[in-house]
């Protein structure tokens, strides 16, 4: 029983990453109608920026949490301005192929310079060590990841669903022409939204840097699972992607306990089941 609690908690930790990443994907898909395959590469860039900030600039983890998402977000906005915006209104496939190509290029460049085994990034001193919860030894850093990403997820949800800005955004997605008629700069809002989604990916990258290696392929390994999470949760649903992210982390954690060999595939099995039963995803709206 104790072991079960421990696995549930570990699942929540992984779920935090799934939630942060799938949230960014959901925001981008919901607002821009783009299936952002570059998400994993941008997540990886977030981790690398944190590494560079620390090793070249002496800038610590806490500042990296702020600076890396902004820098990578700007990179994302440049991508959106120069390439993605021309695909608006075209079939999803074009955006998917373009972002997939971008991901391959970015990963290739990083791999060329930094190899495949990765670079070390240590846990900030303030979050080192752990606490004994009785049923498990919880590294403080992992606890921090869960709480921090939960806060960020809820804040993003609040921003989009409950604020004036979010209302504009949602309206701009529904009917860009009409919203433009009200004097709102829709293209700029779209660019900022893409920047926000990308920033979330970079933030997840910084959070994961001390846990995993900072590796060029860290995103490529994760992104497929995250896409499955988004599909299960329902494309474009903000809350759906948050809840599904955490829930799938837990389910995966339990699989690692009961039948570890299947832990790589359980998410995809669930995806197939969900697609058969409810093709729009658990919380998705019909397209």
């Amino acid at each position: 029983m104790q072991a079960l609690y421990a696995q549930l908690l570990v699942g929540l930790i992984n779920g935090s990453f799934y939630a942060l990443l799938s949230l960014g994907l959901a925001v981008i898909f919901g607002m821009l109608n783009i299936i952002n395959f570059a998400h994993g590469a941008l997540y990886m860039m977030g981790a690398f920026v944190a590494y560079f900030l620390l090793n070249l600039g002496g800038i610590n983890y806490w500042w990296a949490l702020l600076i890396a998402p902004i820098l990578v977000g700007i990179f994302g906005m440049i991508l959106e301005r120069t390439m993605l915006q021309w695909l608006a209104g075209l079939d999803h496939l074009y955006g998917l192929l373009l972002t997939f190509g971008i991901a391959l290029i970015v990963q290739g460049v990083f791999q060329n310079y930094f190899g495949s085994s990765g670079l070390p990034y240590s846990i900030p001193d303030q979050l080192k060590g752990g606490v004994n919860l009785g049923f498990m030894f919880l590294p403080i850093y992992r606890g921090w990841v869960v709480i921090f990403s939960l806060v960020v997820c809820l804040a993003t949800w609040f921003l989009i669903e409950k604020t004036q800005l979010g209302a504009y955004l949602r309206a701009a997605t529904e009917n860009p022409t009409l919203v433009r008629a009200f004097g709102i700069n829709v293209p700029r809002m779209i660019t900022l939204t893409y920047g926000l989604g990308v920033g979330l990916a970079a933030l997840a990258g910084v959070l994961s840097a001390p846990i995993n290696q900072v590796r060029p392929l860290m995103g490529a390994d994760l992104i497929i699972v995250v896409f499955a999470v988004v599909v299960i949760g329902g494309m474009g649903s903000i809350m759906g992607s948050i809840i599904t992210g955490f829930a799938l982390g837990v389910i995966e954690g339990l699989t690692k306990y009961f039948y570890p060999e299947a832990s790589n595939t359980v998410v995809f099995v669930l995806m197939v089941v969900v697609l058969l039963v409810k093709p729009t995803g658990l919380t998705g709206r019909a397209a």
Partner: protein, 406 residues
């Protein structure tokens, strides 16, 4: 996507093959370096193995004696089907004589069959499974550098004798992990120890926390990491996070490469005990080679033992070809010749190719230095012991290789 890439590769290979029409001159040799060029083993083998092969060709001096030696390389992407497709392509179309490197035991065993079928030469340096020179040995295969038997005996025995008598395994769920766990378990039980549990994780796992919690709960004194590359570095890093070493359990990285230690960082890796058969800073000869090597590497990294094994294996292969006076394009014949000449190269020293294809050379027990002891960017290891070549590998009377039963 992967399929597209392999299709492109095949396409490229076909174009190359049209250019390289086989000539009747028997002083031509074609070497193929088949490796993981972009995945989790790319740093410990990959492009560095190709470089090592190039250096072996240059250093052999055969070109000055009228030989033509061509080199091609391929990416098996850690998939046995892709590995065998490339191997067949190389033998059938490109007229490759020798395949070298091939990390990833799953791919290595699959390619092993193709090389035998095509009667080529197979100099494996990158794969760990001891099956290559036991149950699945062939007259065409030579296994350099290391294998699971050696790792299990050198590291496993040292740890059990030091009091680590209960073990829990974290095992990569494919041929290599299974072989390493099997061979290590044999050593543990033979020395009076006990395996109390284990968990098989998928290859290329990012998060080990679930598995580490199970290892922690097992209360085993030693947590044996029967995995490699990125899986090992992630396990070690995350074990530190979960306070496993501080809690009194010891990690045994059964297979650890120089590039892994670099990736983990000395801060976390310090004090780990493990076995390798080559280290760049062993002696003047290894230092001289490594200096030349790292100057040509984009990352400036010195060679890993796998890359060193590619160099040494090819060097020995060229010696055999020279002794034969020409390339008979008959793999079994060349390998038979390789078995009659004692091995002697600057990186692994003296040894021999045994009848089952196993190359014996010394193995070294290392300990990772403390950050304060390290004087340079790749100064990582302290030598703590040497296992002589004739004791490090499977004794011939215990080898299950069918070639020995004549």
């Amino acid at each position: 996507m992967r399929n597209t890439i392999s299709a492109l590769l095949l396409g490229t290979a076909m174009v190359l093959s049209v250019a390289g029409v086989a000539s009747a001159d028997d002083k031509t040799v074609k070497v193929g370096v088949l490796s993981d060029q972009s995945g989790l083993y790319a740093d410990l083998a990959g492009p560095g193995s190709t470089l090592a092969a190039q250096m072996a060709i240059e250093d052999s001096g055969l070109k000055a004696k009228g030989w033509t030696i061509d080199l091609i390389s391929g990416d098996h992407q850690n998939k046995p089907d892709i590995g065998t497709t490339i191997a067949r392509q190389w033998f059938d179309v490109d007229k490759v004589d020798t395949i070298v490197d091939v990390p990833n035991s799953g791919v290595a065993l699959a390619v092993n069959n193709v090389v035998k079928e095509k009667n080529g030469v197979y100099i494996n340096s990158g794969a760990a499974t001891s099956d290559l020179t036991n149950a699945q040995c062939t007259p065409n295969t030579v296994h350099w550098t290391y294998d699971t038997y050696m790792l299990a005996h050198a590291t496993g025995q040292a740890l059990v004798k030091a009091g680590g008598d209960t073990w829990f395994f974290l095992t990569a769920d494919y041929a290599f992990g299974a072989a390493l766990e099997r061979d290590t378990t044999a050593v543990i039980t033979a020395n009076g120890g006990k395996v109390v549990g284990g968990v098989k994780h998928p290859l290329n796992t990012a998060d080990f926390s679930s598995f580490l919690l199970q290892a922690q709960a097992s209360k085993a004194k030693i947590i044996g990491l029967a995995n490699a590359g990125g899986d090992t570095t992630n396990s070690i890093k995350q074990a530190a996070e979960f306070g496993i070493v501080k809690g009194g359990q010891k990690l045994a990285a059964l297979l650890l490469f120089l590039t892994d230690v670099k990736a983990i960082g000395l801060e976390t890796a310090q004090g780990l005990n493990f076995t390798e058969t080559f280290y760049w800073d062993l002696n003047d000869k290894t230092r001289a080679f490594s200096k030349r090597f790292s100057e040509k590497m984009k990352s400036g990294a010195p060679p890993t033992m796998v890359q060193a094994g590619v160099y040494a294996g090819l060097t020995h292969y060229f010696k055999a070809l020279e002794a034969l006076g020409g390339n008979p394009h008959d793999g079994a014949k060349v390998v038979a010749k390789m078995k009659t000449i004692p091995t002697d190269d600057p990186l692994f020293g003296k040894g021999e190719v045994e009848a089952n294809g196993r190359v014996t050379h010394d193995a070294y027990l290392f300990e990772v230095k403390k950050p304060s002891e390290s004087k340079g960017p790749w100064d990582f290891y302290k030598l703590v012991g040497t296992v002589p070549g004739n004791q490090a590998f499977t004794p011939l009377d215990k080898s299950t290789c069918a070639l020995l039963k004549k």
